[in-house]
Symmetry: D2
Subunit: 133 residues, 4 copies
């Protein structure tokens, strides 16, 4: 991944770990989703406003590579870059353990944009993220 | 609890267990919610239809007593009775491990009914559950 | 609730909301659990260390009163007090929306302490929380 | 995907839907995990027994393609095939809505097998799944 354009710090919560004592694989999608949401909010995107205009982002693909597992009390840095690829917006995301910078999970997340239920170029999101695309 | 009026069988899924190897406390609320939903569906209540009429049930209290913890692969029976108490509908719910009938969790769940955002008697739900109240 | 002895600020994540657009009732147990964990860590309790000594806290009761629902992007303050009641440790917990201090959920959480699988007075936890009991 | 070797029927639970009214993207990983678990149990694999021998399966990659979203009350069929690829075991999984067979999510899930914490060929699992590999 290129130099991240956005990062947040988060901390594992006990209930996110499963019986193996490590963060359950599905929770990385939650962490990634939360990070995209915070990023989009930070550039001024309002999902409520977009939704009222009939514009909705939907996930079309998530490709996750699991490396070092996070465990209880771990603090981690969740980062992303974003690019435009045809009609899709692609987020490249990483989660790194804060204590030693170990890569825990790397994900490529493809988002399609619906306008009134139909696939569109998602120009609304483009405009807002134009500094980063 | 009196003789249950409704029961379903469910099975613990691995991701519902936490690092202690037992079902996380919050998941019992999920199990209970799912059981109420299946019960209400079974008597013909449609949440979609109710919602379109402006009628929405909301949880006002959940009082849970944790007994024997469920763990991975456990099969359990989730049962309920229901009563009317003033403006509230009260569900008395239990979760018992199937293998030995051990009581795992007992909950008293109070539901208030909103009509167009205001507290009501919830007559719609009453009518549907009249055989059980 | 008396003046809280511990508070943390948290923010609702989208995936914690359900189809009604509000935080699902079970997630308040997650928020409460996370707050107790952070509190106990702050007074020096190590769950790992306790567990290695054969000491494990378990939830015996959770009594939750739901007031104003939290929704997407809400920031909230999760606070607690703690008291000793016989063999149990009771946490009184509240979640208040930050923007207007509205009470969203109030919970009384009873924790029993097991030593080598048997109920105990939980003196280990007492010692650590002695400033607050 | 080739003809599935294993299928289970499941039903969406309300709390698995998010504020968009559809099943949250992370829950498909939960559905897939549960399906693999049920499959492996069906061929006689015991995770407890494997773990006691020092053998643990871990997820190394999950590549998910989201098609038609599931929503509240949807019943779906979760199916899989499995293949050996070098040191990895690959599960090809699909989730289809029961009412119309619509493809909801397709996932390729790579599992590595650790023996005493080190990558191995995972022969224990191979033997158990030999009829399918």
């Amino acid at each position: 991944m290129d130099k991240p354009i956005f990062s947040i710090e988060m901390k594992v919560r006990d209930y996110e770990c499963d019986a193996q004592g490590i963060v359950n694989n599905a929770n990385y999608l939650h962490y990634f989703e939360n990070t995209r949401h915070e990023f989009m909010t930070s550039v001024g995107i309002s999902f409520k406003e977009a939704h009222e205009k009939g514009i909705d982002p939907v996930l079309s693909r998530a490709d996750l590579h699991y490396k070092t597992p996070l465990t209880g009390d771990d603090v981690f840095i969740s980062s992303l870059t974003v690019e435009r690829k045809g009609a899709k917006i692609i987020f490249h995301q990483t989660i790194r353990r804060k204590s030693d910078n170990a890569l825990c999970c790397q994900g490529n997340i493809e988002v399609a944009v619906l306008e009134h239920g139909r696939l569109s170029r998602g120009d609304y999101f483009d405009t807002m993220m134009s500094n980063y695309l």
